[in-house]
């Protein structure tokens, strides 16, 4: 599985360099480590099938992040549909009323930051995750998402503002 193409780098080179970054990005979008592994596996299989069309490792990285991000968002949408169907079927309340103390204890004992990230709208969450966990600059994020650098700048800022509101206002829903 170490097939190299005629451009001087192998599948293994790309895997070693990109996997650690990709799995973090996907995990931060989905909040699910098992799903992150499955999505990375699928993304790399797709990359393997077309690696001869991708000229260098940076391009391979952007391509893999784009595919991984799309798979992660699809996973999120599917998960959301399943959750809503379950709630409809069993009339499960979305949120149990808790005392302020219970809420605080829960927030301290669980990953509040990750839960807050998951509550951001998709467009904000993606740019912020790519910035903070994908080690990409605005130009690279713009290239991956197919938007302008100015748009990246605005979305990153709005995502930070929203995340601060969620964390400081105690509005993070930890299921």
């Amino acid at each position: 599985m170490s097939g190299s193409n005629d451009r001087g780098f192998s599948f293994s080179d790309v895997y070693q360099e990109v996997f650690p970054l990709l799995v973090r990005v996907v995990y931060r979008i989905t909040g699910d480590s098992e799903a992150a592994e499955e999505i990375c596996q699928e993304a790399f299989i797709r990359y393997y099938e077309r690696m001869n069309t991708i000229p260098d490792i940076p391009q391979a990285k952007y391509w893999l992040i784009r595919v991984g991000k799309n798979l992660a968002l699809n996973h999120e949408k599917r998960k959301g549909r399943e959750r809503r169907a379950y709630q409809r079927a069993y009339h499960e309340p979305k949120k149990n009323p808790e005392t302020g103390e219970e809420s605080l204890l829960k927030a301290e004992s669980q990953d509040t930051v990750q839960k807050a990230l998951e509550q951001l709208p998709e467009k904000m969450r993606t740019v912020l995750v790519l910035k903070e966990y994908g080690d990409l600059n605005y130009r690279e994020i713009a290239s991956v998402l197919g938007i302008s650098e100015g748009n990246v700048k605005v979305r990153v800022f709005r995502a930070r503002e929203r995340l601060l509101q969620l964390l400081q206002g105690g509005d993070v829903y930890v299921p």
Binding site: V23, Q41, I45, E132
Partner: protein
């Protein structure tokens, strides 16, 4: 220029020009309110950075092997894939195949060629005499459990091949040297 929050966010990411950076740093040094707004973004970055996450080192090995297995399974499925063809298309394909087959059969009869396919069960076997030391080296490596993606056999630049003796069916394990026949 007084830096707004969006500019402070871009400054945190290192996404401003040298000139703008100098202005922002001036404002941060002189204005406590500006400093406080900037510190909120710094604090948020620390929180994101320190948010716990699984150790993905084992996952990297697991996924690597899973990719190999999945690719193998996909390539095997490619050959055993069931294809669904609409009935009209299937009938049309059968008619075309029958017509083409009939034309070729007629042409073959006209040329005096046999129209039947080659008899099943005939094994076309070529045997090449190799240097014993090289064969032992190859078998030794294979018995040692080494794996190869490909084995290259270099032929002479001007090879001359000829058939010697009659083709023979040789049981597995029978000593080739005791036969004495070349083929």
């Amino acid at each position: 220029m007084y830096p707004d929050d969006q500019l402070l966010s871009a400054y945190l990411d290192g996404e401003v020009s040298d000139e703008t950076r100098a202005h922002v740093e001036e404002a941060l040094a002189a204005d406590p309110d500006c400093r406080e707004r900037y510190d909120r973004f710094c604090m948020l970055r620390r929180s994101l950075d320190q948010a716990p996450e699984p150790d993905f080192e084992d996952a990297q090995h697991r996924v690597w092997y899973a990719i190999g297995s999945a690719r193998k399974a996909r390539s095997e499925r490619l050959w055993s894939r069931r294809v669904s063809i609409p009935i009209p298309a299937a009938v049309a394909a059968a008619v075309v195949a029958f017509a083409v087959g009939s034309v070729f059969t007629l042409l073959a009869v006209a040329d005096g060629l046999p129209s039947d396919p080659p008899t099943a069960g005939v094994v076309d076997e070529s045997r090449i005499r190799l240097d014993r030391a090289e064969v032992e080296q190859l078998l030794g490596a294979m018995n040692a459990g080494e794996s190869y993606r490909e084995i290259r056999i270099d032929l002479p630049e001007s090879p001359r091949f000829e058939v010697r003796g009659e083709p023979a069916l040789v049981p597995i394990g029978r000593d080739d040297a005791s036969e004495g026949g070349d083929s």
